[in-house]
């Protein structure tokens, strides 16, 4: 769904920082960990991780290191920097405030009709002038 994709695109850096808080990981590991923690709800084009990783690295929020595997191949592993941890905490606070506000607005849309003594201020079906009293 496009809405989900857009939401995920904007929050991928935060998700990467959150995953790296628990320890260094390579790109494949980051993708799998995000999928695991979200119960496969958050799925994205995994190649898009790498521009995000590059951007975070340039900002000094994560640090990438090339490590040699047992087979002699090299793999890039990323870890969170102190600046990255601070950034993650700030983003978490912002997200929690934002999510709470969205939830309150969405919950408000499902409120029941206003109390009978509030008829003078009752809006019509389209939010305009009050309509006729409903039949009892």
């Amino acid at each position: 769904m496009d809405t989900e994709r857009e939401l995920l695109k904007g929050n991928t850096p935060t998700l990467v920082l959150a995953v790296l808080r628990d320890g260094p990981l390579h790109g494949y590991g980051i993708a799998r960990e995000i999928e695991r923690r979200s119960d496969s709800t958050l799925k994205f084009k995994e190649g898009t991780l790498y521009p995000t990783l590059h951007g975070l690295e340039q900002q000094g929020l994560i640090l990438g290191e090339w490590l040699r595997t047992d087979k002699g191949r090299e793999r890039r592993v990323y870890s969170l920097t102190p600046a990255g941890l601070t950034e993650l905490e700030q983003r978490t606070q912002v997200w929690e405030r934002f999510a709470s506000a969205i939830h309150r607005v969405l919950a408000g849309a499902g409120e029941s009709d206003p109390a009978p003594e509030d008829h003078a201020h009752r809006r019509g079906p389209l939010g305009g002038l009050p309509g006729p009293e409903p039949a009892m």
Binding site: Y28, G29, E33, K45, T48, P51, H54, D70, R73
Partner: protein, 235 residues
């Protein structure tokens, strides 16, 4: 296959894999990812990105094969899971440009020119003033011309955007400063010096600096494009 330095105990174990021969579909995919980066990102950096993406793709394919998928299908699905290669390349280039300062505004470029190019212009002007007051060897006048010219070229070479703006702002600021000084001290500098400096600066030095700066920027792009191994093999 385990990473030697495993400081993260919860890192998912990568599927075991041996050395694989280059997969044509993967190589083609990676070529498409790298295409927008050619001439903009240094070769070594492009290769590092390519290695990283190849490793991730290998891991995806291995994971699918371990679930029983045939190799060809696993490759197709892994590439689909990775995303459109051209879009990925463009997205990576945007991050690279942003990190390298290519999102610099025109005003920031002008400030950069005044900060780094203007001092070279002042040095050149000082040398020319010295010669004007007490004529010296011809080489000295060349120095007065070459220093700002080289500075203009280097300003352009190091610019990702707004090369002409940076050099123009630098040259313009020096022209303005020198003309104002001549206006403030007419007896020391001589009659008509203000007008001469303003005219020479505006109609000669500023345009020439802009052209040299743009040449520097073009040279940079050519140097980046030429840093490709297949061109070396052709030579």
């Amino acid at each position: 296959m385990q990473i030697q330095q495993e400081s993260s105990p919860h890192a998912p174990a990568l599927p075991s894999c041996g050395e694989r021969s280059p997969e044509p579909l993967i190589e083609d995919y990676l070529d498409h990812v790298g295409a927008p980066l050619v001439g903009r990102v240094p070769y070594a950096r492009r290769q590092r990105l390519r290695s990283e993406l190849a490793e991730h793709l290998d891991a995806l394919i291995e994971a699918r094969e371990e679930l029983g998928e045939p190799h060809a299908e696993a490759v197709q699905q892994a590439l689909r899971q990775f995303g459109d290669p051209a879009a990925l390349g463009r997205q990576w280039l945007r991050e690279w440009d942003g990190a390298q300062g290519s999102r610099e505004t025109m005003w920031e470029a002008a400030r950069r020119g005044m900060r780094y190019f203007a001092p070279a212009g002042l040095i050149g002007l000082a040398v020319m003033s010295l010669i004007h007051n007490s004529p010296g060897p011809f080489g000295l006048s060349l120095v007065g011309v070459i220093i700002p010219a080289v500075a203009a070229f280097i300003t352009g070479f190091r610019s990702r955007r707004w090369a002409m703006v940076a050099a123009g702002a630098g040259a313009g600021s020096v022209t303005l400063l020198s003309a104002l000084l001549a206006l403030s001290f007419p007896q020391e500098t001589g009659e008509g010096t203000f007008a001469a400096l303003a005219i020479v600066g505006l109609f000669l030095w500023v345009p020439v600096s802009c052209i040299l700066s743009e040449l520097g920027a073009l040279t940079r792009r050519r140097v980046l494009r030429r840093a490709q191994p297949w061109r070396a093999r052709q030579a």
